[in-house]
């Protein structure tokens, strides 16, 4: 599971920082999460192939999370893309995208599907044989969802020594990896657990930005391996949280602790701060395993 941070700062793009966008590579799929202005240039800068992005998840329609979407969609068309593209996001994302295409008398060279969200309940928005993506309803100034990416358990791992010992034909290997027992020619039944090891644990990632502190998300993100949680402010500016509906680093860490998360990744820092290191120090007072997102940073989990 590889997470590349393209941008993780709040509000306005600057010469040195970018608004929210990140790429999650999981089970060989590449998901783009949020798409602030400049995202397409950040993708180029970090040499992430446009053609691998088939699914874009938008949390909410504040500019620092989606003003780069129309540019990316247009660029895909200019490059002659043929593969389907799916956009998941709040109701309205389709209308504004199509209006912009109409005004420029442009169209896409590929099928563009919108999956508009309106529900305030968690729902599955994407599922294939390896990954399932669920919304995490957040509480912000506009309708907002985080996204929970869950790997499905993979095949069991073959115990090569054991299967060779029993002289089992390779034709049965897939059955064994899928959990099946084997009946030998002499009638003996070999239980699966003698022939396999447990599969690698299925990993999960939760993206939670932007939101005020809310424990309503805990059931959805319980035991998540990696939690990206917004921390716009430090506790010293906690008085701004309620009005702006954002969190402090300490609040993000509290959520991580209560969710029993593996790792907490902080992001969506207000640009008022000269350094982001204090966010980590503040979160560490509550939760042990804290990482700081930063533009261009790549995490492997």
């Amino acid at each position: 599971m590889i997470l590349t941070i393209l941008g993780c700062y709040a509000a306005t793009p600057r010469t040195i920082t970018n608004p929210t966008s990140q790429v999650l590579e999981i089970k060989n799929r590449m998901f783009l999460i949020d798409c602030g202005e400049g995202t397409q240039v950040q993708l180029r800068k970090h040499k992430l192939k446009f053609s691998r992005i088939n699914h874009i998840f938008i949390s909410h329609l504040h500019g620092d999370h989606f003003y780069g979407l129309i540019g990316l969609i247009s660029t895909f068309a200019l490059l002659g893309r043929k593969t389907d593209l799916h956009v998941y996001g709040p109701k309205g994302v389709k209308e504004v995208t199509l209006l912009q295409l109409k005004l420029s008398n442009s169209w896409t060279t590929y099928n563009l599907y919108f999956h508009e969200l309106e529900s305030t309940e968690s729902q599955v928005v994407y599922e294939d044989d390896k990954v399932v993506v669920t919304t995490i309803p957040l509480k912000h100034r506009v309708y907002t969802n985080g996204y929970h990416f869950q790997e499905k358990s993979g095949d069991r791992k073959l115990n090569i020594e054991a299967v060779e010992n029993y002289e089992i034909d390779t034709a049965y290997y897939q059955k064994i990896k899928s959990g099946g027992d084997i009946t030998l020619d002499d009638g003996r039944v070999i239980p699966n657990e003698e022939l396999t090891f447990d599969p690698l644990p299925a990993k999960s990632y939760a993206f939670c930005s932007d939101t005020v502190y809310t424990e309503s998300i805990l059931p959805i993100i319980n035991n998540v391996d990696v939690l990206y949680h917004e921390s716009t402010f430090l506790q010293s500016e906690e008085q701004y949280c309620e009005k702006t509906m954002h969190c402090t680093a300490q609040q993000a860490a509290t959520i991580a602790k209560k969710a029993n998360a593996g790792t907490l990744v902080l992001g969506h820092y207000s640009t008022r701060y000269g350094s982001i290191e204090p966010f980590k120090q503040e979160a560490l007072t509550v939760f042990d395993n804290v990482e700081l997102a930063d533009d261009g940073k790549v995490f492997e989990f």
Copy 2:
């Protein structure tokens, strides 16, 4: 007259080049012309004060000329701007901007005025005591206008030696600078030309992008001091001009020659070319005074 090129490349933004946007400083006014994605970051990078931009002229609604507008408008609001902002551009620019603000449940902290254009005839869109801005109807795949910025003639320059010689009271200086004659106490009438020098010549700038080759613009840009004219292609790719409705460098130079322009500035280069120098060489075969726009370049005229 100072022209700062924020971006001058066609189609998609890249790590090394930016889509169209430029700032014209004329008679102490600062006009933003076009606003491709990333313009607000380019403004920051070149230390151009946001607060000095009160008028934005959009040529057409292709993404590489206006996808940065909503971000800039939003950033102005986040920074608490109070001064009026005027946006001039094709019909539709208001609808899409307001829709984006509505979807993000945002509003501006300042008065935002749209001056939407639909006419295919040249028209005055801006005028104050020092500058007049006129549209230049262009021929492109969508409704497009260039803009002609014309300084008004300033006051005549006082010939200090002459006015002191005639012992004229300073109370009459403004009348003299405005072109008036003076009657002395002894009844003699001193004609204005004895008391003043000609004012500095009024300068003009024409922005023409994007357009196919069209001589219909010549009456509007005749004798312009500086002509920025798009040159998406070289003659070797001239076959693309008709379909895409763009020009070659040679065609741009032909327009400059026929318009009797002072200086031709080339821009809007297709990103297919590794170097822009051949654009200059090609244009020089037709017209003598050719400059190459490039991102970050500042011209003083």
